[in-house]
Symmetry: C2
Subunit: 274 residues, 2 copies
Amino acid sequence: MKWGVFDSGVGGLTVVHALKELLPDDPLDYLGDTARVPYGIRSVETVRRYAREAAEFLAGRGADGLIVACNTASALALDVFCDLFPGPVLGVVEPGVQEALAATASGRVGVIGTPATIRSDAYGRRLRELRPGIEVHSAACPLFVPLAEEGWTDGEIPALVAERYLAPLRAHGIDALVLGCTHYPLLAATIARTMGAGVSLVDSAAAVARAAAAHEGKPLAPAGRGALRDGGLLRPGRDRIFVTDPGGSFRGVADRFLGAPLPEPEVAVLGPHA
Amino acid sequence: MKWGVFDSGVGGLTVVHALKELLPDDPLDYLGDTARVPYGIRSVETVRRYAREAAEFLAGRGADGLIVACNTASALALDVFCDLFPGPVLGVVEPGVQEALAATASGRVGVIGTPATIRSDAYGRRLRELRPGIEVHSAACPLFVPLAEEGWTDGEIPALVAERYLAPLRAHGIDALVLGCTHYPLLAATIARTMGAGVSLVDSAAAVARAAAAHEGKPLAPAGRGALRDGGLLRPGRDRIFVTDPGGSFRGVADRFLGAPLPEPEVAVLGPHA
């Protein structure tokens, strides 16, 4: 089936990578709202307005299913996508929650994400709903996004930033940590080192790709960021990349997020004045 | 006279602070495009489109003069503001360039800013135009913005980040460094320590405030971030703060940028779908 993948910017390309590992032959349309990224610093109302325009765009292009790769949009506006998109809609919160519940033995789970995702408490609410009594500790980590985009994913600076954000979560004795932002998988090694060996990282990008494969009845092979079989990930023509701002910083970092060369992005116009 | 002050977000409040030190009785309208901040990662076309809508909004509110506090908008779209705003328009580039020329003895000047400002080379072009043969070295410092917004302005992390960005400029032997982003004055102490005693920092926020005072024929007392006489900086009613996204992260950081408590922001609607 043809998937529409929505993200506020470039981060959703980590979902595309995971999706293509599991469903390499499914065509996809990717929409990155690069003219208005990042969503994680905006209000609920603004995110919902942007979500409406994105849902209409991807529905109009005839995707069969929709993946909301953006954690902020999943947390604040999944119902908007469900209302406006005719097919199945997968957000990143539910698959991340499911994998966190499977991963935790202690019942103490951590969640990290953008300020808006953390303020929304979308992961925490769902975790407590499915397992009453679970302990959820969360932290917003705004510096992680520019670190990932700069490619400063290893070394002293990311280690110190991670220590500052994550030490309180470590002190709570969590044994599973949800990476509730599509940028964070690029910092997974540093985050894992900071948290220590006893903490499982739950990559919400990989989790939603597994949920999409499950939706199609495909086997749930673990998705990761390994090399793909043929080196080519997206096929021009079959797979299309749309952005609301064709210039800016997107091109410079997209290949790193996708883990492969990117086809030329096309310009999406959302609403009269997106 | 009544000033309109435009910024992509919260950073322009450093300009408001400097302006109110020099022109405490002038009323002002501040517009922060918080629904679409940051401009520094976007393309020229997108910044110019956003600038058009901002210029029309502030012109419609009857300001006498306009200060474009956003370095990215000043670098990429000052002509848009000049075309659409009936009164005088001051960008941050020209005052910053003038003060850098006054500050340098060696003729080697550094410029730091967002990726878009640095790519535009607006400071470099103007510096070379006014002083042919000047040596300009520049660097984009994307991590500085979230560091300022997190309030991580002192200590090991900002020092390491500053060292990574600024060491190449130091190696070029510059003796003046333009802070070409309104967020950077919050990191001035760290930047100054990193560059060493022989390098003058040129604060483009303070520079444009001095240019505004000069425009009114007021004495050019040095603007800084010192305490204001009466503790009150903006007066509700006389001074108005407009934002395109009233929620999100703006309120949490605005007081720190202004250096004083902020009146309740009002919502500005730019274009039909800002």
